[in-house]
Point group: C2
Chain length 209, copies 2
């Protein structure tokens, strides 16, 4: 095992520290976030910081780091109150990565990803995504420690490819072809080990799938 | 595609809504969080809500949902200021899942996972984990929307299996054997598609790995 104490972390080259610290949490969720400002300009950007807040009411959180190009997304959410989350598959993960480039116009046009709309949701979905979630802004707050902004949204609409929706409500991400990201720029698909039974002391775990 | 509007989400059976909403973000990071209270009792619990806050200074966040059994971990962090993050591999993901059972004693003893300590970090690491991170509490705040608690910790110490550490600082999670989780109880390993070059308008992406 290789060890790093605080001093050696802080003394490392900044690219090394950035890549290492960004990798520490493990595999991260990957979503394209779609927004549209009040002038009708759409925006699409990849995010690895989307997380579950609660199921009743259904809420989702996004952490926006300070001083990043992602700020168009945050501005549009605050301006319009709407955003969409869209899973990425192996078929279009390179386009998804490319949406992080600093385009003047819409990332949909620039990368060829197609917009899709439903009534009542101002923001665009990604038509080719197998899991699309329409969300409305509930609140946002700034973290004192480094200026990161946490956005909390209510889940208003879900579209999912039937092949990935099980009878119990859980999603089969292997079947959907959902991609996961590690560090800043490395993409993976998942391969299931098992779905496990509810853990209780003294009870053997069962593989449900 | 199957669609759910807000009304059909809220009218669904609670188990269905819980499993669906928990699956929406995609693959999630999986870490065992190790803590020890001031009486010396250790605690170990699986978490899928660990995320990157920043690299300089190196910071990590954990979201604790309200009213869960995870609260021993939160109490120990607030009491002692220390916690560890430990990646989980296919060799011990069932023991990791089992640590979520409601044990009276330590989850290390109950599941057979071994504690490991380094000087200056009060909390126990998981000896068999290929990536171990020692953290110190910086701040925590409660989200008004549903009482979830966000903990922010500084990264004080990193131990990593050399086979997973690249020269650029990024971690090869496939080589480390890191496991990812979806929904509440489904475990996966990752299989790399590619590591992609920095995206710029008009520039073709390259596969770096």
């Amino acid at each position: 095992m290789k060890s790093f104490d605080k001093a050696s972390i802080l003394e490392a080259e900044s690219f090394f520290r950035r890549d290492l610290i960004n990798s520490l949490s493990g595999y991260k969720s990957l979503n394209l976030i779609g927004t549209k400002n009040n002038e009708g300009k759409t925006n699409l950007s990849p995010f690895s910081q989307v997380f579950h807040i609660g199921a009743t009411p259904p809420l989702v959180g996004i952490l926006f780091r300070p001083h990043t190009v992602e700020r168009h997304t945050l501005e549009n959410i605050i301006e319009t109150g709407f955003f969409t989350l869209n899973h990425v598959t192996a078929e279009f993960y390179k386009q998804a990565h490319q949406t992080a480039a600093r385009y003047e116009g819409s990332e949909f046009e620039a990368t060829g990803l197609e917009e899709f709309y439903i009534e009542g949701v101002h923001a665009p979905f990604v038509a080719s995504s197998p899991l699309q979630v329409g969300c409305q802004l509930v609140e946002f707050q700034t973290l004192q420690v480094n200026g990161a902004v946490m956005v909390i949204g209510s889940i208003e609409y879900i579209r999912v490819d039937e092949k990935g929706l099980r009878a119990d409500g859980s999603l089969d991400l292997n079947a959907l072809g959902t991609v996961t990201v590690s560090g800043l720029d490395e993409y993976h698909i998942g391969k299931r080990l098992a779905k496990l039974s509810y853990p209780k002391p003294g009870k053997e775990l069962e593989e449900l799938l």
